[in-house]
């Protein structure tokens, strides 16, 4: 069994959180409150020392010192704009001045939209379309189950092509989903359901992995039963 205080605290808090699976109880509430409090405190300290102190305070102090020593105004004064925008954001806390927070929010939305406009177009549209538009059939010998074919078929690409087209038809509402469009849209639903199912399966795997990690911590690091 571990003699490390940190491991003991971690183990008892883990058990406290897991106790919720039996039923809601005061120990769980305490552990939950500790988790939220520690997280909030950690983020506050982290953001202060990673952002406000090195990027705002140190840069502005350097800019002021340069100006005071006759070096003129340099680019570090631009950080003042960021500082002012940050203060404006905090105006949300004041009921009468809350509207001021819309300005830095508008700035954030605008810059993010500008940054992502080309990025998403390139990475998530053009490149993805490019990867979908690949030759489905080519020269060479192919095979379908046990039948030899005189040409090569890229079955994976064919499946992606069918899935993409039928999925797009499902979301194309300008045409009534009857006859061919209806059948294609229905095929699209199958592809969507398989996709969601795969995602759900991966989610289960992910959650199980986290549980395994905790159990390994309890029986290994804490109790020392597994090495």
């Amino acid at each position: 069994m571990s003699v490390n205080l940190g491991v003991w605290v971690g183990a008892l808090l883990t058990l406290g959180i897991l106790s919720f699976l039996y039923r809601d109880n005061p120990v769980y509430k305490v552990c939950e409150a500790i988790f939220i409090g520690v997280s909030a405190g950690y983020w506050f300290v982290s953001l202060f020392w990673q952002n406000i102190q090195p990027k705002l305070y140190l840069n502005l102090r350097g800019a002021v010192e340069t100006l005071a020593s006759g070096g003129g105004i340099d680019s570090r004064w631009l950080y003042l704009i960021a500082g002012v925008l940050g203060v404006m954001m905090l105006m949300r806390l004041l009921p009468k001045a809350g509207w001021i927070a819309r300005w830095p929010l508008a700035f954030i939305v605008g810059t993010t939209a500008g940054l992502y406009l080309i990025t998403y177009l390139q990475s998530n549209a053009i490149n993805q379309i490019h990867d979908t538009l690949v030759p489905l059939v080519g020269r060479g010998e192919g095979r379908f189950l046990f039948i030899a074919l005189p040409f090569h078929v890229d079955w994976a690409a064919l499946l992606v092509f069918i899935g993409t087209v039928s999925g797009l038809v499902y979301f194309f509402f300008s045409v009534e989903h009857t006859r061919l469009a209806g059948k294609t849209a229905r095929l699209g639903i199958f592809f969507l359901m398989i996709t969601f199912g795969a995602s759900f399966g991966y989610t289960v795997m992910s959650r199980m992995s986290l549980l395994i990690g905790r159990m390994d911590f309890l029986v290994g690091d804490w109790l020392g039963l597994v090495h």
């Binding site: 996709t195 795997m205 199980m208």
Partner: protein, 284 residues
């Protein structure tokens, strides 16, 4: 109460208990599970194998302790492989706890006999540049000026002191970027900015939840994707460094069997109860 009624009314805490047992008991077993390697995982290993000794690689750790169970084995294996094959590793993170997790992974990797034999040195063979706030903008800026984004390492020393950072201006000096991702910012941002914009080869190790989102970028936009604990186990098998990923796969499989079993039993009970209800309605 019939068996069917009992199945439908089973207390979910029994299920929790069974899942806990399914996860815990295999930890005590010395059984090895065969790992089937997927094309996506092979892509990461192949990309690493293609690098000549002395190449610089970035290990971007964008995760925290909450997801360490899944992705920490990937970080350890990646470091073991790189340091034992004389690839120089530049560690960084867009999540505050990422570089700290990398330090823990380094501690484990440096203990490996294959790594210890080469006695890798900090600043020469590997360096930890620490966390930098700014999310994807950090990657964007690294495309033009890495020293401007990371003027100091995680311990506060100027990066000019380190031989590994000599002549490193942008992604042109980096042969491979391996991003370990647990969400935003993470693999999507590395692909969009480092990969698609600056043409740096990007590989990804990610949580299982995120993996299906990233598979769509494979193989052209991302060289490979390690998906969750299974991906970690595959990577360990491919690189020859067995670790926690492989060891935990047995627990993973047992847990999945329990989940599948309850899904099947639940569905059987549901359909049987529906048939019984219809019969009862028909008789009435």
């Amino acid at each position: 109460m019939s068996l069917l009624d009992r199945m439908l009314a089973v207390d979910r805490r029994w299920i929790f208990l069974l899942v806990a047992a399914a996860v815990t008991v295999p930890l005590f077993l010395e059984l090895e599970q065969k790992i089937e390697v997927t094309q996506e995982s092979r892509g990461v290993a192949d990309a690493l194998r293609a690098l000549p000794a002395g190449s610089r690689v970035i290990m971007a750790c964008d995760y925290d302790p909450g997801t360490a169970a899944e992705v920490q084995p990937m970080a350890i294996t990646f470091l073991k492989y790189c340091l034992s094959h004389q690839l120089r590793v530049i560690i960084m993170g867009l999540w505050p706890q990422g570089p700290m997790q990398a330090d823990l992974a380094l501690r484990d990797a440096l203990r490996d006999p294959a790594v210890a034999a080469l006695n890798p040195q900090y600043g020469v063979d590997y360096v930890n540049l620490g966390f930098q706030s700014g999310n994807e903008v950090v990657i964007q800026r690294m495309g033009s000026d890495i020293p401007a984004v990371f003027p100091r390492d995680s311990r506060g020393r100027p990066i000019g002191e380190f031989p590994i950072m000599e002549n490193v201006r942008n992604f042109g000096a980096v042969a491979y970027v391996f991003n370990i991702s647990a969400g935003y910012p993470g693999t999507v941002e590395w692909i969009q900015f480092a990969g698609d914009r600056f043409h740096a080869p990007v590989g990804s190790g990610t949580t299982a939840v995120s993996a299906p989102l990233y598979y769509t970028y494979f193989p052209r936009q991302v060289t490979g994707v390690l998906g969750g604990m299974k991906g970690a186990a595959e990577f360990e098998a491919l690189t020859g460094f067995p670790g926690k990923g492989s060891r935990f796969m047995l627990s993973q499989s047992f847990a999945h069997v329990v989940v599948i079993l309850f899904i099947v039993l639940g569905n059987i009970a549901f359909f049987l109860s529906r048939r019984r209800k219809r019969r009862a309605e028909g008789a009435a």
